[in-house]
Amino acid sequence: MEQSKGKRLLKLFLSMLYISAFTFGGGFVIVTFMKRKFVDELHWLDEREMLDMTALAQSSPGAIAVNAAILVGWKVGGFAGMVCAVLGTIIPPMVILSVISLFYQLFATNRYVALVLRGMSCGVAAVILDVSVSLGKNVLKTKQWVHWAVMAAAFVATFFFRVNVVYIILCAAAVGVVLALQGRKGGA
């Protein structure tokens, strides 16, 4: 299974290039695609690491996709890995946008383009929810009611009340701190 480092870096670069070229919509879209690729397919990361990286990417400044690429890149191939992953992430949007901005009137008003994009967003919703179901099941499997409660509360807060994601992350982190302190007090 040992791949030479160069091969691994190339694979990382090409994977990010491919994912980035096709993922429309916000940062969570690309994170779900990365999970399918790096966790399920290549087994370079485990699911917990991918979720940790998502939380870190989400709560740091900058684009979530770029942040996630930096984290995955460091993990997979150190500094060179980080550079490869970031380049893979930003090259497709730069190229595509440059081309499209040349004739954007045509692009933005084209009926066929709009139909394809609408169709694709159905697929994107399916991909995200597919990954969500798998991840959610794994949280339920842990049999830790506090984590179930965090998941439910975070969902209600973001979906129904549109609470800023940063606050949700902070609250969840606070729950973790409290749990750790309690565990310490209990001598666990």
Partner: protein, 187 residues
């Protein structure tokens, strides 16, 4: 000029926490209000294109504005400016994560963050589903249901869950399906 471009997008990269929707108002204030690089209507074009093309909105915005005012060097400079804060801050976090993630306190924090992240991802997906199923979140009602969109979603979801279909292939096929249904007047 390039330096100004670099500094502007550096600020955008540094202060947009939480992804694209946080970046849009920042890009607007820097490019339209502060520097006058874009007119309000050009900015609207940018927002539309950024949404319709792959990639982070901040990177798309940097490319668009950079190209417009200084050609290719401008695009590269602006993009580099907007990712530089991430490169530094997130690399630092990556280091901290690797070094200290075994600490019990951090373990506990991360363990609590994971279910929250799952919820955030699920909510993002559900919002998207509502969008394709009803057009707008406010329009949730049976008479607004867009059955073609719902059918495409259902087919894609089934393919992914049951047969572990390739997600990008699924998405591309949905795009083709949207085009076909649209041409038939069903979508």
């Amino acid at each position: 000029m390039l330096l100004q471009l670099f500094l502007s997008f550096l600020q955008i990269g540094l202060f947009s926490i939480g992804g694209g929707y946080a970046a849009i108002p920042l890009i607007q204030s820097q490019t339209v209000d502060v520097h006058g690089w874009l007119t309000a209507s050009q900015f609207m074009d940018l927002a539309t294109i950024a949404e319709m093309t792959p990639g982070p909105i901040a990177v798309n915005g940097a490319t668009f504005v950079g190209l417009k005012i200084a050609g290719l060097p401008g695009a590269v400079t602006a993009t580099f400016g907007c990712i530089l804060p991430s490169l530094i801050i997130v690399s630092l976090l990556a280091y901290i994560y690797r070094r200290y993630s075994a600490l019990p306190m951090l373990q506990s924090v991360l363990a609590s963050l994971r279910p929250a992240v799952v919820a955030l991802i699920a909510a993002a997906g559900l919002n998207m589903l509502l969008q394709v199923a009803f057009g707008e979140r406010q329009l949730i009602a049976l008479e607004n249901a867009q059955w073609a969109g719902i059918a495409l979603f259902a087919a894609a979801f089934l393919a992914l869950r049951k047969w572990k279909a390739n997600p990008i292939l699924t998405m591309v096929l949905c795009g083709a399906g949207g085009l076909a249904l649209g041409l038939l007047g069903l979508f």
